[in-house]
């Protein structure tokens, strides 16, 4: 285990400069996510155009892994259909809990940078919180928790 494998440059960059870090005031869907273990809290906002995610953003506070993961999430699902976003969630779950062979890493693009989290089991929830929260938003629940 090497810290550089967890805190890859792209993760450090997205933590320092999170993308789509804002509220969408006229969001069609939103949900709050909370990790009771470490106190990470974030809100995901979704703007829909039919079945397509036309805009997605987040705000809140959290560790570098949770902020970078949420930032990468917004870049990855914007413009995709709800079904495609759900499939990405399933892929991310496999990436974070199984091994690289279980996932089509090139298809994940920048999200593949989170594969190093797997070696730090205590941090998997940090990376998955935003995905659970997006899932809750898309299914019109207003809260997600990693517990």
């Amino acid at each position: 285990m090497d810290l550089k494998d967890l805190y890859r440059d792209i993760i450090v960059d997205h933590n320092r400069h999170p993308r789509n870090f804002r509220e969408i005031t006229d969001a069609d869907r939103r949900a709050d996510g909370f990790n009771p273990l470490c106190g990470d809290k974030l809100t995901v906002y979704v703007k829909l155009d039919g079945e397509r995610i036309s805009d997605v953003s987040f705000n809140g506070s959290g560790c570098a892994i949770s902020v970078a993961s949420a930032s990468l999430l917004t870049e990855s699902v914007k413009g995709r259909s709800i079904a495609e976003a759900e499939e990405l969630f399933a892929q991310m779950h496999r990436l974070l809990t199984l091994d690289d062979a279980a996932v089509d890493i090139p298809a994940l693009g920048k999200l593949g940078a989170l594969s190093g989290v797997r070696a730090f089991p205590a941090r998997v929830k940090c990376a998955s919180l935003c995905w659970h929260t997006l899932d809750a938003a898309l299914h019109s629940h207003d809260q997600a928790s990693t517990e």
């Binding site: 810290l3 805190y7 450090v12 470490c38 106190g39 959290g62 560790c63 570098a64 892994i65 940090c126």
Partner: protein, 417 residues
């Protein structure tokens, strides 16, 4: 133990290298670095003497207590009740009837809530706690309030992390039925000047429970001098085993309280017509107790008494001063909780580096600290923080470990800051 005694009598200074050899785990490495264990407020480590006492009990003397006439049962009972007497002496209770073995501080507080509070409290009654409390000294009272209609009142804290005494006394009223206060804050390390608070409460006839989980391992605690009514603490934070803790209660209060749980050992006679409960303290110890845990706790007390609690407190205070000085030089570090009287607990944040990331990065250099809300979410809310990093020291920690903490913090800043 005799070797330890001899060593301390002949050595002027506290021989920390020798003390560390008493703790087997301190010899291990983590990620290739020597373990630097700075998470003692969550749970301390065990000296060999505690591990040996428990092993010896299981290897030689295990049987159920208070039951058989056979030799092993008698030995187990003697060891178990001997541990109770060690606890009594350690906190200077009047009688071993006042020492109830429980699973830990949490269970002790729940016992008082359900056995003392539930039959007595009702709508209009108030329970007074402080904003500093650990969840274990909040949630049992919230549950009791739901059950009885009583109200939970919260004494505020100051920006330095001290309980506001004037506000506390203003909240004391004829409606107050119980005060429940931390002796030492787990999240911030504040030592609460409990004599003042107990004095104010008792002047109005209000009983006081102290959550001593963080105090007993680090200070000399004398329940008669404190003049509190209940005192709760855990074995595992004072070099003893997990799963064992103590509720001290004033004998007249415990005697008037109904049993909390029913079962074996807490009765004198059972029939379907009438069951007669056992006397103190066994009335509150239904079922087979954690015999090995109690014996281990007794061994931990022997160990701490050999070191001397005054010396433990002095050594830890010196570590706190050194840590404060070294950490103050880290750019962007902010202390959370700056009361003048503190146990060796340092809670802090670092600009642009989240505590959770600090925890991971420090662990990679073998430095174990706690990060998060420390089971004191209201304290975090008060300071407007989601979490802090917390280094908490024991007498076996060293200046070199403080230096390694500081070095690891700089690594984290370089990586993420």
């Amino acid at each position: 133990m005799n070797a330890v005694t001899a060593r301390l009598e002949t050595a002027e200074a506290f021989d920390v290298a020798a003390i560390r050899r008493d703790f087997p785990v301190l010899a291990r490495t983590v990620h290739g670095y020597p373990l630097s264990y700075l998470d003692n407020a969550a749970s301390s480590q065990r000296p060999r003497a505690v591990i040996d006492a428990m092993s010896s009990y299981y290897e030689n003397s295990h049987a159920n207590v208070h039951r058989g006439v056979h030799t092993l049962s008698q030995e187990a009972t003697d060891l178990f009740e001997g541990a109770r007497e060690k606890v009594r002496r350690f906190i200077n209770a009047r009688s071993s009837k006042e020492i109830v073995f429980v699973r830990g501080t949490t269970e002790a507080i729940n016992l008082v809530a359900q056995s003392y509070g539930r039959p007595r409290f009702g709508p209009g009654d108030e329970i007074l706690v402080s904003w500093l409390e650990h969840h274990a000294n909040i949630v049992p009272w919230q549950m009791l309030c739901e059950q009885t209609g009583a109200t939970l009142k919260v004494a505020p804290i100051t920006r330095t992390g001290e309980v506001d005494f004037a506000a506390f006394t203003a909240l004391l009223s004829p409606r107050t039925k119980l005060v429940a206060l931390a002796h030492v804050s787990n999240a911030l390390g504040t030592v609460i000047p409990v004599h003042r608070f107990i004095g104010a409460a008792r002047a109005q006839g209000v009983p006081v429970l102290l959550d001593g989980a963080q105090a007993v391992p680090h200070l000399k605690v004398d329940v008669q001098a404190l003049d509190c009514d209940f005192y709760a603490f855990s074995g595992h934070k004072m070099c003893g085993p997990t799963g064992i803790g103590v509720l001290y209660g004033r004998e007249e209060l415990l005697g008037a309280m109904p049993p909390w749980q029913g079962g074996g050992d807490m009765i004198l006679a059972v029939s379907f017509g009438k069951t007669v409960y056992n006397g103190l303290p066994w009335k509150f110890e239904a079922g087979t107790p954690d015999i090995a845990g109690a014996i281990g706790l007794g061994a931990a007390i022997d160990y701490l008494e050999t070191l001397g609690m005054e010396r433990v407190a002095a050594v830890e205070h010196e570590l706190l001063l050194y840590a404060n000085q070294q950490l103050a030089a880290v750019p962007g570090l902010r202390f959370v909780g700056t009361a003048p009287d503190k146990a060796a607990v340092v809670s802090f944040t670092i600009d642009r580096v989240h505590p959770h990331d600090l925890g991971t990065i420090l662990d990679q250099e073998g430095v174990a600290i706690r990060t998060g809300h420390h089971c004191a979410m209201p304290v975090m809310e008060f300071f407007g923080l989601p979490a802090t990093a917390r280094a908490s020291f024991a007498f076996y920690n060293t200046h070199a470990e403080v230096d390694r903490l500081v070095d690891a913090l700089r690594t984290a800043q370089e990586m993420l800051g």
